[in-house]
């Protein structure tokens, strides 16, 4: 049982990358507009995040150094500062969106407008970050997020035209009727969401919080190779549900209520209750992940004490950053901005943050001073370099595509 629970860090990390509030809607929207024609991006993203999360977790386990330590050490204070600015903004905007996501999930259950829930949601998130043990936190929200498996069940119950979905996924079906720019924009967004930098910040820092050592490398790898593919499967199931229900009708998806609709259609009230619980847990988990990551990046850049295993008064700067980030998130939401749009805007900052985060990880994962005999093998390096090229391409393409398509609306 203990072994089974040891993978919750990987699951919680993957939730933030694949099924947070932005992705829940984006996966559904993609399914409605493109069928399964963009499913390959999720697969590419899962492999990419597995490669780099494994490297960052290995460095954390063997040397005790989390990702932002490596960024500062290998890129120097100036370039690392550019990365810090980009990464912090991505993390902060996503945190704001997740607080909104938690509130939207409660709105689905209560029909009380989500903005009224925002301050309450933020306060409860803060209490968990302030008081709950790291391991309890990761177990409760990692496991509760698994309620989203209901999308897989719903998909099977809907009994979709599997052959049609399969041929879309393999690129054999006819075109979706969407322009190439929209296709490119959604491809880049899905990829950037899968590889979003706070996943490696959170995963490696979580490894340090759990006091991983060389002996825990098996745990580390199990976390990576179970957690992220599971996130990818949930992501694909959501996409396929939307492709089955919405695409034939030509319905556009732009809200979380629509994302959950296929489950309600397939499984009725009980299914709806489970999916709302899943959305709540996933967005809450993603809020915890991004809230902590905001603190981790800044504390690790400056070398402050950080983490949940020390008393807050011994890590006052870290806890102040977490608290202020939450307050900024609430302030942003109370301007009535749409939480889903916020996650799309954060993509711009990923363009800076992604290459500058993954390059130092790759370099240090080859450094014998850090890793001794655990340095990258040939396979990890081939994948690492290949993905760095893809990341650069996505980073360069993101902004022009965003402008051309008006964030995917045209």
């Amino acid at each position: 049982m203990k072994r089974a629970l040891a993978v919750t860090l990987g699951i919680l990390t993957a939730i933030g990358g694949f099924v947070d509030i932005g992705d829940l809607v984006a996966n559904s929207e993609t399914g409605a507009r493109f069928g399964m024609r963009l499913a390959w991006v999720v697969v590419v993203g899962v492999i990419g995040i597995c490669v780099y999360a494994e490297m960052s977790g290995r460095v954390a386990a063997v040397s005790g150094r989390p990702v932002f330590d490596l960024v500062r050490e290998r890129l120097g204070p100036k370039v690392a500062l550019a990365n810090l600015a980009g990464s912090y903004l991505v993390t902060l905007l996503t945190l704001a969106a997740e607080i909104g996501g938690v509130a939207l999930a409660i709105e689905l259950a209560t029909s009380v407008h989500y903005l009224l829930w925002v301050p309450i949601a933020a306060f409860v998130i803060w209490v968990v970050l302030w008081r709950m043990r790291f391991e309890t936190m990761e177990r409760v929200f990692g496991l509760a997020g698994l309620a989203l498996v209901v999308f897989v069940v719903a998909l099977i119950a809907l009994d979709p035209p599997w052959r049609e979905l399969g041929s879309q996924a393999l690129g054999q079906a006819s075109a979706s009727g969407e322009g190439w720019a929209s296709y490119g924009f959604f491809a880049v967004s899905l990829f950037a969401a899968a590889m979003t930098p706070y996943e490696v910040f959170f995963f490696s820092s979580g490894g340090v919080e759990e006091e991983w050592t060389r002996k825990d490398l098996i745990t580390e790898r199990t976390n990576v190779f179970i957690g992220f593919p599971l996130g990818g499967i949930l992501s694909l199931a959501i996409m396929a549900c939307a492709a089955t229900v919405f695409a034939p009708l030509g319905v556009q998806v732009d809200s979380i209520g629509q994302t959950t609709l296929p489950v309600a259609l397939a499984l009725g009230k009980l299914g709806l209750a489970v999916v709302i619980l899943g959305v709540f847990a996933a967005t809450f988990g993603a809020a915890l992940e991004t809230g902590l990551s905001a603190g981790y990046t800044i504390a690790q850049y400056f070398g402050w004490r950080w983490g949940k295993s020390v008393a807050p008064r011994s890590a006052a700067r870290f806890h102040t950053v977490v608290l202020v980030s939450l307050l900024l998130g609430v302030a942003l939401l109370l301007t009535t901005v749409d939480p889903v749009t916020v996650t799309e805007v954060s993509l711009v900052f990923s363009a800076v943050a992604l290459p500058l985060t993954y390059l130092p990880i790759l370099v240090v994962a080859n450094d014998r001073d850090y890793l001794g005999d655990q340095v990258n093998g040939r396979l990890a390096n081939i994948f690492g370099v290949g993905y760095l090229a893809v990341i650069l391409l996505a980073a360069v393409a993101a902004i022009p595509l965003m402008v051309i398509t008006g964030m995917g609306t045209s």
Partner: protein, 129 residues
């Protein structure tokens, strides 16, 4: 254990400094060198904190960072935290000191935020292991 030859830019600058229990002290934001008459340089101290970092980054942001660092100090003429190099016991993926964190001056920002913000919130004392 110290690598030989010790490269200041590669082995020291921007690495994490930890005390003898592994608790973070800060980054090596800058170093202090002593140069002999015959030209040999020896590292005499690690400089830690925003003032040292700000001066090293330079430019508008660096100057601002250093001035904020100075403002937070209560001394009339604030200087960066100076850790004499003879306290260093290991130069590896982190710089390990042979002393306790408490023996070094507490960073002013940490003290201020603890006293004015964090310690006033209920539950600030408990570690959640």
């Amino acid at each position: 254990m110290t690598p030989d030859p010790l490269r200041v830019d590669f082995h020291l600058l921007d690495r994490q400094v930890v005390d003898r229990h592994g608790r973070p002290v800060g980054k090596v934001d800058d170093i202090e060198l002593h140069i002999d008459l015959d030209g040999t340089a020896t590292v005499t101290a690690l400089l830690v904190g925003q003032i040292a970092l700000g001066l090293r980054i330079d430019g508008r942001f660096g100057t601002w960072l250093a001035s904020v660092g100075r403002r937070l100090h209560t001394d009339r003429d604030p200087v960066p935290l100076r850790v004499p190099f003879h306290h260093v016991t290991d130069v590896g993926s982190a710089i390990t000191l042979g002393i306790d964190l408490e023996l070094l001056d507490e960073p002013p920002l940490e003290r201020w935020l603890r006293d004015h913000v964090i310690a006033r919130i209920p539950g600030a004392r408990d570690a959640r292991q």
